[in-house]
Symmetry: C2
Subunit: 477 residues, 2 copies
């Protein structure tokens, strides 16, 4: 319900975000600190994200499976960097069936270890490779500072885990998935992410190389929205994933892992939303169209509802919702669905019945400018075009916003200025000490070195030493 | 791989079951005692089960959501019967982020408590009712004796949780779901379940009434394959789920819960399988058809593979798999896919290319009797009919098996005889002491009193006192 007003996005972005999630019923706080309940509206959005990704995974030869939630503590300790990265965040089961367990079990924070263990059992020969498995799962990381969708103790994600014969095949897979994520983000969510490679300090604990898609939120902070890791032979060696190669020799496999989580819901909210609330991209919106019937008496109601039924029928290829809640005014419903980000609203009143047309409002164009009268003839065709156009406008607007907030500061003083309200795209020598100093002085971290960047020659924005590549810097979630 | 032979179903049913699951790669044992890995073939079967159920849930007005994995221990203690039932089976997180937790967190064994807590926050007025939410989730129960799919420490399921204004609406919902489960089991899985009501001793911990669908496995043991519980106001009172009714008075809501789990995969295996392996119902089989190309040289290969492509195209409405693994003989592949239960196998060799027909084998009719030659003309239409017929035969065969193993013994001596290899359908006085004695003496438990049974008059099979209804008794999983 939208009785009390949402804070303005421009005045308090953070409260706008939190309250919008609660009001639009995407999610709620759970009784356990840092956990969330994903409510039906939020889960329907996540299900559409799942469908869009899952279809892409299956088309590229991946299959789904399910690995256990509980992992022996000793498994995590087998890969040194991995356990160092995750040890502080673990939830640990020490009691099972009323007895203290001999070995504590970790609630999975990610599944490289247990999947590595199973792959070592399954893989015997090069003929068993590649293995291309994904799972849709919940994971738990004991985070201290949490935010709905962005960082919760428990979250939902897909985690892909693949094993290959050669280093090249593993790298190809890592990049194939990065491209798949980029395609999904841009073409389904209208979130214009930038794909690139992470610095050593920012890479996944145990990976050889981590790739990422980075998105700019409307407060100009960066949100890491998906990652794809080339794990080299690190986990293969830790878990003894060996195979007999084509020359009959034992070799360690090359593995990858990659994931997109419910965090992506946060990316959608903070890429497209406005002071009125959510704006959901038509391709992922739980309801693409809401119909609000308008009538003053039973006679009008009958006529209007007959036409509502006809419109529903004509538009049955779309995800459509009829708001026939009683005791609520049309005005209240308009605001409510605006806040919930439904792309198109169709009003049908007695006049529309008489004229055999409907009034369509477009969520991203406020007021009269966004209103259209559409005749019943060719309604589905026209609605489809409106949805596609809206999807395109969201991507265009977000891309323009992003590009107008990316700066190439000339020196570190300018860097410090632009980073307050934007990203800096700057030469960096690659030295971790510069990266750390920049973080300490500006709160900005390296986000990624974009893919396909040609080697040029410049000087590090911090230390002034020679640098070959530019990197995106930003404050981030 | 099917190199070493499967034990015969008739000789060692239990080993046949375990080894078949491993060999067909439905699942594997996990490194933690009692946990399983659901492998891609098993998960694809589960995904088809999910789709069939989820479609039915959504058609009947239910929506999906996600509630947290971790539940404060104190929540479970709020409903007396519930905590008594589940306390011995809990996995408990005592450490989070390196610190001992003030209140231990339970890994959910089921979610009535945490969902009840959220419903008490969300429900204010009768206008908020009914709430019809389902979640697809993993749960953990610390079981001592485990079996793949049938009883594992962690398992996957859907759990529906609804809240209603009146006792009658809650009962209607409970029965609506029981019917939905029955329809799913019979019409998708070809598992002829018997829907009915559980005895007090067998009902869910905290429920007012539990309904069940009971299936007979090929060893005549019963498998409880899905349950639907009317929780009355038990959880509403424990979690203060109150609403303002139409007369402006505070009332406790009426709630239900219901679930089907990965256990159902076990039901499918043990209802249809034979000495050769799995037989999967076409509606749920991950692959409905496997194509095995047969050739001796490159010239034949080219011709055969061209026709394979044409057949794949012609049959693209079905779930189809082409087995082009190298270094394996056609004979090996035949056995392998037979073991994995694919309903139809299509062989295509040089002769078939010449004749423009394919050889189709039906999984449930062994040898030559099940082989057909189908022309390319109308191939899809004919294949569809074969799949439907096979689905029907599976249901018919399972129903006949079930009915021929249900007995109505005249006295308890006969009861003890028939229960060794069948179910007994007997009058029972309803007294828990008779139920217990029967269990002690025969290992048989009450499975359910079937729905729609008319009240008649008889005498309890155990104590001889008057009894109005017959109940199914069986040894069970």
């Amino acid at each position: 319900m939208a009785e009390d007003r949402l804070p303005k996005q421009s005045e308090n972005f953070s409260e706008w975000y939190n309250q919008l999630i609660l009001k639009s019923e995407l999610a709620d706080y759970a009784p356990v600190r840092g956990c969330m309940v994903v409510r039906p509206y939020g889960w329907a959005l996540w299900e559409n994200i799942q469908k869009a990704l899952d279809t892409r995974f299956k088309k590229t030869g991946h299959v789904n499976a399910a690995f256990p939630l509980l992992i022996p503590m000793s498994f995590l300790e087998k890969e040194k960097e991995h356990v160092e990265g995750f040890a502080p965040e673990l939830a640990i089961v020490t009691i099972g069936g009323g007895e203290k367990l001999e070995e504590p079990l970790v609630v999975r924070p990610t599944s490289e270890t247990i999947i590595g263990y199973m792959y070592s059992k399954w893989i015997k020969s090069y003929r068993d490779l590649p293995i291309l498995i994904n799972q849709w799962a919940n994971v738990v990381r004991w985070e201290m500072r949490t935010r709905l969708f962005l960082r919760t103790l428990e979250f939902y994600w897909q985690e892909g885990h693949t094993a290959h014969e050669t280093a090249q095949e593993a790298e190809d897979e890592t990049l194939k998935i990065l491209n798949l994520y980029t395609d999904f983000a841009i073409n389904e969510a209208a979130v214009p992410v930038i794909p690139g490679i992470k610095s050593d300090a920012e890479k996944f604990a145990g990976a050889q190389r981590s790739y990422t898609i980075e998105a700019m939120m409307l407060d100009t902070k960066a949100l890491q929205s998906g990652t794809s890791h080339n794990l080299g032979q690190n986990f293969a060696k830790a878990f003894d994933i060996q195979y007999l190669d084509r020359n009959n020799e034992q070799q360690y496999a090359w593995t990858t892992s990659w994931g997109v989580s419910t965090r992506f819901v946060g990316a959608i909210i903070m890429t497209h939303g406005d002071d009125q609330g959510l704006i959901l991209p038509p391709k992922l919106a739980p309801s693409q169209i809401v119909i609000v019937p308008i009538f003053r008496n039973d006679e009008e109601k009958e006529k209007v509802m007959t036409m509502v039924g006809e419109v529903e029928n004509a538009l049955n290829q779309f995800r459509i919702k009829v708001d026939n809640r009683e005791n609520l005014t049309p005005g209240f419903k308009f605001n409510d669905w605006e806040m919930r980000g439904v792309p198109l609203r169709i009003e049908i009143g007695p006049k529309d019945v008489a004229n055999q047309n409907v009034v369509v409002s477009q969520r991203d164009i406020p007021g009269k400018a966004g209103k259209l009268f559409l005749p019943m003839v060719d309604l589905a065709k026209n609605i489809e075009k409106l949805l596609n156009d809206l999807q395109d406008r969201l991507l265009k607007k977000a891309t323009e916003f992003r590009d107008s907030h990316i700066f190439e500061p000339k020196n570190f003083n300018e860097f410090k200025e632009v980073i307050v309200n934007g990203w800096a795209y700057s030469y960096w020598c690659g030295d971790a000490s510069c990266e750390n100093s920049i973080k300490d002085e500006t709160k900005a971290t390296t986000r990624c070195r974009p893919l396909g960047q040609e080697k040029t020659s410049g000087t590090c924005i911090y230390c002034g030493k020679p640098a070959d590549y530019k990197t995106y810097f930003a404050r981030s979630y």
